[in-house]
């Protein structure tokens, strides 16, 4: 360090304060950009990993997703891993079967057998539904349990056993002229809970409903099928696997090969990913610009601040100060406050690496300026004077 180093700094505070402020601003800018990019990347990862991409089976025209009366093969296509590719991409499977019941508290009541409350207004808390259940594993039960409306539950006065006639409304009786009772049968239910409000729809576990359907129709069918994609990074693979079983929606609704289509609702995910990717790409452009600005600032401030120091450097050399010591002293003078500024910015924004990068580039700019200033020898200055 040069003798009276701090005295000299103290007596010309403006240039050092300016250098520190510029370093602080650039560090803060780069830290912000870096933090912002990390944040956007994290959001992108989060969006891809945790967005719910709903895949819904519809008729081939895409106009209907309930009352589809699909064969049991559709259910097997999303569950049998040994035979189909699609199950690998399925999570949170939602299947329903629609039935009609006639019982003590009403006739032609809608009975829906379901695997999950999701998407059902009365049952799904996300849609405002509120359910009181007496069985924890209602949706996976094979017992003929019922969820009724609060109103019906109150009218039952504590009675939980319900006898009913169950009808599969999708059985076309014209095909079974010799079986007038095809698709009709009796069943004993146990009330297992109620949903808030009046409402006429009844709900039962999917498996239990299918056992009844199998008994009264001789086969299993389902009326809606939806699921969430298990891996949002493999949606194209999912589409490919789905094409083994389902078609794509054809406006107009005619397909020689498929009766049903699978629609992957990834529009929200795509728009989110697109927006976040755009932000990341913009930041990727701004960061090098900020780094280039830092280098330029180091050069500019270095040149300005050493421009009037050439005589001081020459005088120091002629007083016997070694080149190394003079260089170290000049660099320290240029970088002491900017270093402090970068440390402050890095610590405040908890982003030390960008602050370090700013300091490194700023130092490089100053280094070039200081080397340039120190190249002027005292004798050259004297010659210029002469």
């Amino acid at each position: 360090m040069s003798p009276f180093f701090f005295n000299r700094m103290k007596r010309a505070p403006l240039k050092h304060i300016c250098a520190a402020l510029v370093s602080l601003a650039l560090s803060a800018l780069l830290c912000f950009l870096s933090v912002y990019r990390s944040d956007q990347k994290a959001k992108l990862e989060d969006a891809i990993d945790n967005s719910e991409v709903l895949c819904v089976v519809t008729n081939i025209g895409g106009t209907q997703s309930t009352s589809l009366r699909m064969g049991w093969g559709a259910a097997q296509a999303v569950t049998l891993r040994d035979y189909y590719r699609l199950p690998e991409f399925v999570r949170d499977l939602r299947m329903t079967k629609e039935l009609e019941v006639m019982c003590a508290f009403g006739s032609e009541l809608k009975l829906i057998a379901l695997t999950s409350p999701k998407g059902i207004d009365e049952l799904d808390p996300a849609l405002g539904g509120e359910v009181t259940l007496f069985y924890e594993d209602f949706y996976t039960s094979k017992e003929p349990l019922l969820i009724v409306s609060e109103e019906v539950f109150n009218n039952l006065g504590g009675e939980t056993a319900v006898s009913a006639i169950v009808t599969d409304p999708h059985v076309d009786k014209r095909y079974f002229p010799d079986e007038p009772d095809k698709g009709v049968g009796s069943a004993e239910f146990t009330v297992a809970g109620y949903y808030k409000g009046p409402g006429e729809r009844l709900f039962m576990p999917f498996e239990a409903g299918e056992l009844i359907v199998d008994r009264i129709t001789g086969s299993r069918t389902l009326d809606s099928l939806a699921f969430l994609a298990s891996d949002n990074r493999r949606l194209n693979e999912l589409r490919d696997a789905a094409s083994d079983v389902f078609g794509s929606v054809i406006p107009g609704g005619v397909s020689g090969e498929y009766r049903f289509a699978l629609t992957v609702h990834d529009e929200n995910l795509n728009s989110t990913v697109e927006a976040l990717t755009r932000n990341i790409e913009r930041t990727n452009i701004f960061i090098p610009i900020a780094l280039a600005l830092t280098l330029a600032a180091g050069l500019l401030i270095g040149f300005i601040s050493t421009r009037n120091e050439k005589n001081t450097y020459a005088l120091s050399r002629s007083a016997g100060m070694t080149k190394k010591r003079l260089f170290a002293s000049a660099m320290l003078e240029q970088l002491l406050l900017p270093l402090a500024a970068c440390i402050i910015a890095g610590a405040a924004l908890r982003s030390p690496l960008p602050a370090l990068a700013v300091f490194a580039l700023y130092s490089l700019g100053c280094l070039i300026a200081v080397i340039r200033a120190l190249r002027v020898s005292p004798s050259r200055l004297l010659r210029e004077q002469e």
Binding site: P3, F4, N7, R8, R11, A12, N311, T312, A314, L315, S316, R317, S318, A319, G320, M321, T322, K323, S377, P378, S379, L381, L382, R383, Q385, E386
Partner: protein, 225 residues
């Protein structure tokens, strides 16, 4: 005995446009206890010779000897720090250091204790006529003559045996110029230092013990008007 000797010293440098042969086979010797003047026109090479004598440049040919040893074999930073002080026409002082700190600068480089450095600096300042009231002044608050005397005080305090002064009175009025010259002559004659003054002023040259004339890079002994 000669403390400083130039032996067949030549020096060339490249300026923006061409190669300049600033010195051509210059030989001369300087003794302690004497004041010397080097006179010559601008661009004649006298400042270049001063730089070579100060060890700020290396001769292209020939050598500069300090006490019989070639400067190129010595640590030239140490040589300037301990033995040879340079006084310029202007820009002599560190603008952000006080007069006292300017004088202490080489002493700090010599790693003297702060108290000792301050004692020597103050004594040197007083010896060149700078009063205590000006010790803490920055150069911008000193007159040209005072600045030059502070520069001399720096050479005095460092106890440099060789003082190389380049146009030390160039920016001064006659009174201040005379003061500075008399101090330099006193340092040579009373304190036994070797003082080499580069000057245009023939009156100053006439006060020295020996005069060299520099013309187109060639040094001749004696004054030829």
């Amino acid at each position: 005995m000669e403390i400083l000797t130039a032996k067949e010293v030549s020096f060339s440098y490249i300026n923006r446009f061409q190669r300049v042969d600033a010195l051509k086979g210059v030989s001369c010797g300087f003794e302690t206890g004497k004041a010397y003047a080097i006179v010559g026109k601008s661009g004649s090479g006298k400042t270049t010779l001063l730089s070579l004598l100060a060890g700020l440049e290396t001769p292209t040919e020939g050598e500069v000897l300090f006490e019989g040893r070639s400067l190129s074999a010595l640590d030239r930073d140490e040589y300037r720090r301990d033995s040879a002080a340079v006084i310029y026409q202007s820009l002599n002082l560190f603008p952000l250091l006080t007069a006292e700190e300017n004088v202490m600068f080489p002493l700090k480089l010599m790693k003297l204790e702060k108290d000792e450095a301050m004692r020597r600096a103050r004594a040197a300042l007083l010896s060149v006529g700078i009063g205590e009231d000006k010790f803490k002044r920055l150069p911008s608050r000193l007159s040209g003559g005072e600045q030059q005397r502070v520069a001399i005080a720096r050479a005095v305090s460092a106890q440099s045996r060789i003082i190389l002064a380049d146009e030390p009175t160039g920016n001064l009025d006659i009174t201040n110029g005379n003061q500075v010259v008399s101090i330099l002559l006193r340092l040579a004659h009373e304190e036994g230092r070797c003082v080499i003054i580069v000057t245009h002023d023939l009156e100053i040259a006439a006060q020295t013990d020996e005069v060299f004339m520099m013309k187109d890079g060639v040094l001749e002994r004696g004054l030829q008007v």
